[in-house]
């Protein structure tokens, strides 16, 4: 076979492969969220909370060590995120505690401030806790998104090193961001805490919190005792369901936590209202039993994400299961049960970025983008045909093939087409003919210099190559940085641009040239070239 035949064979193979990669476009071309509609979310895991929670539980360990070994001390409390302060230790107590800590809590570095003992959680340990918190959040979000039933979600960790506490979530085709975000953003951290009654309260059963925070603090004499915290409860009162907030003084420590939950599911109350039935694990069930036994006649608060749901009186010993009641609909009860079952998030999540595009806007964008693309394409084709006459056909063929190649490469790479991507696609049309213009102008110049048609075509291609390569590489450099530092749709644009540049080099230098060779091959010593 002649080289020309080989060239045509390669081009034919390229076209077949490209068509195969693109067809049918509805399935093969991946649309970005801005075209398909959906939610793009960046969440931050407040992983410091997980460290604080660990320190909080270790405070109780230290307390147990001190009391079990009858070491006298003043006060004991967590401080900041990663420290515990013990006051009022004498020298002997200090050395005994040191020995106990060596054995029981070796992950704390010990230091002193004034006469107090300061325990600081080791940096490696706290970083490990942070990392674990992010991993657990990822997993929990995965579970919840899967359970909720979103097709083709993307859930990724973002960021580097110790700051890798971000989670990117993309949910295509989801219309209703508020519900969905709530599903996986809610920490779903269930806790049980005992009510700490202010001095002077005698009727433990009837006491019902304070409607004002300051009054509560005043009731304790202006300062809360250590180990006590204030938590709000939102209540709907009256016939019009007016919202009020009640404040409760509760123990800082939570004897029972969401992690101790074995199962949770939607149930039905006596009036048919939705509630959530839960079962605790065996161990936690025993703790719960003991706790209720010791505190019969007092109130115990059930908290969800640091907010009091209810604070019922303990009437009798309760084994390890119960019911959460609240103002639940069937749907919200289902969601909460799902959240509780999938496990609590180890820390709260902040929304750093949220972009929601409705499906109708995406549809509009596609329509307008495609319209602008076709119009631009047609205008460029007409221009090339008018300006370069028959050689313009060559450029038009190259252009169409270029577009096909871009789509094919993007589909087979699995790259997504975004709205800026469509813009990049359109821009590619303008830039792709640039290579042809360069070559054609060069051929014209050679013809003017009196070269034969064949020599002029040879010379035109040969001399234009360096300019085409250099200019395309520089554009490629810009596109690479665009890709590196862009997000979402912008990356889509950068990819389209890069693919477009590469494809245009192939079509201009190989396909166009082949067409010229074919045109010139039949006739020897052709006098004229329509250009």
């Amino acid at each position: 076979m002649t080289p020309l035949r080989w060239r045509f064979l390669i081009i034919a193979a390229m076209v077949v492969a490209a068509v195969w990669a693109v067809y049918p476009p509805q399935e093969k071309v991946h649309l970005g969220l801005d075209l398909k509609g959906g939610i793009h979310l960046v969440l931050q895991v407040n992983s410091g909370e997980a460290v604080a929670a660990k320190v909080e539980s270790d405070v109780e360990t230290v307390r147990a060590l001190l009391t079990d070994n009858s070491i006298p001390f003043g006060d004991l409390a967590s401080e900041g995120e990663d420290r515990i302060r013990v006051t009022g230790l004498d020298a002997e107590g200090r050395s005994r505690l040191d020995a106990l800590l060596d054995e029981n809590l070796p992950v704390y570095n010990r230091g002193s401030a004034a006469d107090d003992l300061i325990l600081t959680l080791d940096t490696f340990e706290s970083q490990a806790i942070r990392r674990a918190a992010v991993q657990q959040s990822l997993q929990t979000i995965h579970t919840r998104v899967d359970a909720y039933g979103v097709a083709g979600p993307i859930i990724q960790q973002q960021g580097f090193g110790p700051d890798a506490n971000r989670i990117l979530i993309q949910l295509p085709g989801v219309e209703d961001p508020e519900t969905v975000i709530d599903v996986f953003r809610r920490q779903a951290f269930l806790e049980w805490k005992l009510v700490v009654y202010p001095p002077g309260v005698t009727d433990f059963r009837a006491w019902d919190g304070f409607s004002d925070r300051q009054t509560l603090i005043d009731a304790f004499g202006g300062t809360l005792p250590s180990g006590v915290e204030i938590y709000p409860e939102k209540r709907a009162v009256g016939l019009d369901d007016r919202q009020i907030t009640v404040w409760w003084p509760l123990t800082k420590a939570s004897p029972i936590k969401g992690n101790d939950l074995k199962n949770a599911q939607r149930g039905q109350g006596q009036f048919g209202e939705a509630n959530i039935a839960f079962t605790l694990t065996a161990t936690a069930g025993r703790v719960f039993e003991n706790l209720t036994r010791e505190n019969v006649g007092r109130k115990m608060a059930i908290l969800l994400d640091k907010e009091v749901l209810t604070a019922p009186v303990i009437n009798s010993v309760i084994p390890g299961n119960g019911v959460l009641e609240g103002n639940y609909t069937v749907e919200s009860a289902d969601i909460l049960a799902l959240q509780l079952k999938s496990g609590a998030l180890p820390a709260s999540l902040d929304v750093l970025e949220q972009r929601t595009v409705g499906p109708s806007l995406g549809m509009d964008s596609i329509r307008k983008g495609v319209y602008a693309a076709i119009l631009g394409l047609v205008m460029v084709m007409i221009f090339m045909l008018v300006y370069y006459k028959l050689s313009g056909i060559n450029a038009v063929v190259a252009l169409l093939l270029n577009l096909l190649l871009v789509l094919a490469i993007m589909s087979s790479m699995g790259a997504t087409l975004t709205l800026p991507g469509i813009a990049g696609f359109i821009l590619t049309i303008g830039m792709a003919v640039d290579a042809n213009v360069l070559i054609f102008e060069r051929i014209k110049e050679e013809l003017r210099n009196g070269k034969s048609v064949r020599a002029a075509v040879e010379g035109g291609f040969g001399k234009a190559v360096s300019a085409i390569v250099d200019s395309n590489v520089t554009t490629l450099i810009a596109a690479v940085f665009l890709f590196q530092y862009g997000t979402g749709p912008i990356r889509g644009f950068a990819i389209t641009l890069m693919v477009g540049i590469l494809a245009s080099m192939v079509t201009a230098l190989f396909v166009s040239r082949t067409i010229f060779m074919a045109v010139l091959s039949g006739r020897t010593g052709q006098e004229r070239l329509s250009i």
Partner: protein, 464 residues
């Protein structure tokens, strides 16, 4: 067909006049940009809600009601065609304090010791007492009951709060029953519609399919049903279902098409990344041209022309009232990549002509090269302009600014290729020669060195 016969224009003869023109344009642009740019939420943070009304709303009333939310700067502007009744509501970031704290933390991060203080806001609110700052001395941690946040913990994020507040205003404004006695067919999602239909005449079996069909029709018609008769065109719609829907739903007078929220932290990062990306792209191109042409003068000429293009295009865009967001950064980077093309084509020709026209002076070689490539420069700019104009006119709101900046950029870029890049390259060459002359006391004519310089292609740039 030829627009341009071979030309012999002395492009470089008037270079000082054109330097002055460019200087003025640069000064005006820098002044405009320095006066503060209209940052989009990508960089400034905040919330953007795109809403489409069925009928033209009373803008002044709506604007007043939005401002009454007390959420700071609220802007309401029409986008797209007037008859689309489409508006963009923009609300600034609600976390000014948060920004300050984040910045403080960042500043502290740059100094390795002492460790940055970590304010744990959530704990503060829950504990009811301020956390002790984490400093080296560790002061006494007494609870401070005086500083208490009044409100219960705000568990919902800013984006939810702002979105619901705006939604409430829109509903109040339009008089739609917000208490949900009847479902708003223009706001309901597929799930809600399916639930509603399941209780209707068709019952459970068809509810899912019909709900999907209704949502599909709505998607294809700009997200709004204007009247119940539109429902007849939905595939699979039965008269019973339509009557049922008409009785049990309302057609709200607006729909939310897009909601974007960018937190202040992300905004700052995106802005930094954008600057870094542009800087690195410029550096990358500088390096590539230097290596490929073995001539720092060419690289400088190209890069100075690029900076010139970027600043003037962005300056005019700013004066036009355009908004700076991520897409615009993409436009500027594209412009940089595109604009350098022209310059490289000319430089490529200069490189070639230096070999062919040995004995001519640098100025002549450049002038000849520019003239020889002039038709190509103009033709390419024209074809690209054709598609960009098409994008500008018909591409839709999102890429309107993008297309406009590119339009400006292509025009400015074509100019700078001829009138900035080449003269700078020549000036650099002359300057290097004059330095050589003064240091080495040699007297090589520029004419000769011009040729020599490019013959020495194989040698590193620094020695040319």
């Amino acid at each position: 067909m030829e627009i341009l016969r071979p030309t012999h224009i002395d492009f470089l003869g008037k270079r000082y006049i054109l330097f002055a023109v460019s200087g003025i344009a640069l000064a005006v642009s820098l002044w405009a940009l320095g006066n503060g740019i209209n940052k989009g939420i990508d960089f400034a943070g905040g919330t953007e809600i795109q809403v489409k009304f069925a009928e033209a709303p009373e803008l002044d009333t709506l604007r007043r009601q939005l401002n009454d939310l007390g959420m700071g700067d609220v802007s309401l502007q029409s986008i797209g065609a007037v008859e689309d009744h489409e508006f963009l509501i923009r609300i600034g970031s609600q976390q000014e304090a948060g920004v300050a704290a984040a910045q403080e933390r960042e500043e502290a991060d740059t100094q390795p010791v002492p460790p940055p203080p970590e304010a744990d806001d959530l704990d503060d609110q829950v504990d009811g007492r301020a956390e002790t700052p984490d400093s080296a001395s560790i002061p006494d941690p007494g609870p401070i009951p005086g500083v208490l946040p009044e409100e219960p913990v705000a568990r919902e994020g800013e984006q939810t709060r702002v979105y619901h507040a705006v939604l409430e205003v829109l509903r109040n404004y339009s008089g739609v029953d917000t208490r949900g006695a009847r479902t708003d067919l223009n706001m309901a999602n597929v799930h809600e519609m399916a639930l509603l239909l399941a209780a209707g005449p068709g019952g459970e079996p068809q509810a899912g399919t019909l709900a999907t069909a209704i949502a599909g029709y709505r998607r294809d018609h700009a997200g709004l049903f204007l009247s119940f008769s539109d429902l007849d065109q939905v595939e699979g719609m039965t008269p019973e279902a339509r009557t049922y829907l008409e009785a049990n739903t309302v057609l709200g007078p607006f729909t939310i098409r897009r909601v974007e929220f960018v937190g202040p932290q992300i905004g700052g990062e995106l802005a930094w990344k954008a600057k870094l990306g542009m800087g690195l792209a410029l550096a990358g191109m500088l390096l590539y041209i230097t290596i490929r042409f073995r001539n720092l003068g060419f690289a400088l000429g190209g890069i100075i022309a690029l900076i010139h293009d970027g600043i003037i295009a962005a300056g005019i865009y700013d004066l036009w009232g355009g908004q700076f967001d991520l897409i615009l950064v993409a436009a500027i980077l594209t412009l940089l990549g595109y604009s350098i093309n022209d310059t490289i084509v000319i430089f490529d020709r200069v490189r070639e002509n230096t070999r062919l026209m040995r004995g001519s002076d640098t100025l002549t070689i450049f002038n000849t090269s520019i003239n020889q490539t002039l038709s190509r420069t103009l033709l390419t700019s024209m074809t690209t302009l054709l598609v960009v104009v098409s994008l500008f006119l018909f591409g839709g709101q999102t890429i309107h600014g993008f297309a406009f900046l590119l339009m400006l950029g292509i025009i400015v870029g074509t100019y700078s290729t001829i009138f900035i890049a080449s003269p700078v390259a020549i000036l650099y060459g002359q300057w290097m020669e004059s330095r050589k002359v003064s240091t080495r006391h040699q007297v090589p004519a520029i004419a000769v060195t011009g040729g020599k310089r490019h013959r020495s292609k194989g040698r590193p740039a620094g020695r040319s």
